[in-house]
């Protein structure tokens, strides 16, 4: 079975972002970029399925600027076999991404797509579900466990208040939640090897799908800052303040 893993290049999760003073967006100049952490989990899961003999080939795909090929190389160094970069200089919304991925799925015919549940830049949490709907495939969103048995996957999903277990007919789209696995670090030899793995570059326009944005961002602002309060010296003082000043006890 072939597994397709879409990955996104985002601001590294350790970076404290800065909103531009004129409200036109987030300052991305000279900021460290990395693979979206949930997509790393997705790549790791695909690699584990390959190591377990379930998957035969892993293809990573990214939609974005030329530099997104660095993100794809990271995926290749983790264990993916080849990569596809779909170039777009303008940002593509999740709906457009899902349409492009649908076209890639039709070409590549994978048995499973695993994608991170959410990108930590736009926090949209949509792409996997949209892709599943457009393909008419089963959907295992927020997966914390994936077990493949023949043409069915048993999936454990994170839900409010606990876990849900479902079986999903393959092919299907899974979205990776935090506890699915802990992604490996790529070793230096694997990083070197990744440089030689195939990476195809295509243009988003070549796919002939409508990726025009539907949302116009009117402004981007910093959230209202919360003021720091006071330090108290003792538990007794704390309880007194909570009772008599804040009235929350």
């Amino acid at each position: 079975m072939k597994i397709l893993v879409p990955v996104k290049r985002v601001v590294d999760y350790n970076v404290k972002i800065r909103v531009k003073a004129d409200g036109t967006g987030v300052d991305l100049a000279n900021v460290k970029m990395s693979m979206n952490p949930f997509d790393e989990i997705a790549v790791e899961e695909a690699v584990r399925l390959k190591e377990a003999g379930v998957a035969s080939e892993i293809v990573v795909v990214s939609i974005g600027v030329q530099q997104a090929q660095e993100t794809l190389r990271t995926g290749l160094a983790m264990g993916a076999d080849r990569a596809i970069l779909i170039k777009s200089d303008a940002p593509v919304e999740p709906l457009g991404v899902a349409k492009l991925l649908k076209a890639v799925v039709e070409e590549e015919q994978p048995g499973m797509v695993i994608v991170g549940k959410q990108a930590i830049d736009d926090d949209a949490n949509q792409t996997g579900q949209m892709l599943s709907a457009l393909l008419g495939w089963g959907q295992g969103a927020f997966a914390s466990g994936i077990k493949v048995e023949g043409d069915v996957a048993s999936v454990t999903r994170e839900i409010d208040g606990g876990l849900q277990n479902v079986t999903i007919k393959l092919p299907a789209v899974m979205t990776a939640d935090l506890r699915l696995n802990e992604p490996r670090y790529a070793s230096l030899p694997n990083i070197m090897k990744a440089k030689k793995k195939p990476l195809d570059t295509k243009e988003a326009a070549d796919y002939g799908v409508d990726i025009a944005p539907r949302l116009e961002v009117l402004s981007t602002a910093e959230p209202e800052a919360r003021k720091a309060g006071i330090k108290v010296e003792s538990v007794a003082e704390l309880v007194d303040k909570l009772k008599n000043e804040a009235s929350v006890l």
Partner: protein, 309 residues
């Protein structure tokens, strides 16, 4: 303008998120119908009928809907979508699961986790873990959105809307429900709790996490939360996680014990009314958002706090 709100419920009872999402849906300015998609969900429908501002309650039932399977829920909503200008659901794990499918099938770009309705086509939503708030205008003729319930007050329960049955839509049988493992406790749910005590890596073990936080939560009638670091370290299950990658909460009282205050955690709790931080590192970023901070060893402070309550 007519809006369809998809209720959050467990068939037997309506979840508090529905009343909050109703307030958001009403702000769009039209009639709001509420869909209860489930199985043997008459009790939830009756509760929904009491919500002030609801025009009518529509009930669709099937086995798959009873388990909130995304393929079935999205097919149901899409089948009903023609009559509506906007489709709204709370941004719960159910809403996040099926709503993007609805949007894709209707060829609409979803608005995720809306925190403010500016007008019928313009909305505020958080990006970058709540560190950059976008104001976005949707060009789609139909709006599909999930709303962050912590930002909206619950609608009152003084109404009496009519209840109608609608046919369950045909849905693909791609996903089959097997079982659910729900944490059984008498504690309030994180999303709707009045008070939350949350622990971080500072608790140092699962035993201490439970042993120190539980008695205080019992006394306060509080929910227990955890930082991502505590979840990653295995001290607490993921459904207790508060933050960008977990739940976003806004209780009256939030006590953060042994939590340094990583950006991603702050994104999940900084709208709490009163924040208390307990940390041995006086430079910890959590103190920058705390109303009351106490610097010291939580292994001394937490037992003392429990006695003082």
């Amino acid at each position: 303008m007519t809006t369809l709100l998809i209720a959050e419920h467990n068939n037997a009872a309506l979840n508090d998120a529905t009343a909050k999402a109703l307030s958001a849906a009403l702000e769009l300015g039209g009639d709001v119908d509420i869909l209860i998609a489930g199985k043997d969900c008459a009790a939830a429908a009756e509760e929904a009928a009491k919500l002030s501002g609801a025009a009518k309650i529509l009930v669709a039932e099937s086995d798959a809907l009873g388990h909130h399977i995304a393929e079935a829920l999205s097919a149901q909503v899409v089948a009903m979508a023609d009559a509506y200008d906007a489709i709204v659901a709370p941004a719960t794990s159910v809403g996040k699961n099926f709503m993007p499918r609805v949007a894709a099938l209707l060829d609409v770009m979803q608005l995720s986790e809306v925190t403010k309705i500016v007008s019928a086509d313009t909305f505020e939503r958080p990006t970058y873990a709540g560190n950059a708030i976008q104001t976005v205008k949707s060009a789609d003729s139909k709006k599909v959105m999930t709303v962050r319930t912590a930002n909206f007050a619950a609608a009152a329960s003084e109404g009496s809307a009519s209840i109608e049955n609608v046919a369950a839509a045909d849905a693909p049988d791609t996903t089959t429900f097997v079982s659910e493992e729900l944490s059984t406790s008498d504690r309030p749910e994180l999303a709707s709790a009045r008070a939350i005590i949350a622990g971080g890596r500072g608790l140092a073990s699962e035993e201490q996490f439970n042993g120190l936080l539980t008695p205080i939560a019992d006394k306060l009638g509080a929910a227990i939360g955890a930082s991502r670091a505590a979840v990653d370290a295995g001290y607490a299950p993921n459904d207790l996680q508060v933050g960008q990658t977990g739940k976003v909460v806004a209780p009256e009282l939030y006590i953060a014990a042994g939590i340094s205050g990583a950006i991603q955690h702050l994104a999940g709790m900084k709208d709490s009314k009163v924040i208390v931080a307990i940390n041995k590192d006086e430079e910890a970023p959590i103190f920058q958002v705390a109303d009351y901070g106490i610097v010291g060893d939580l292994f001394d402070i937490l037992p003392e706090l429990e006695k003082a309550l």
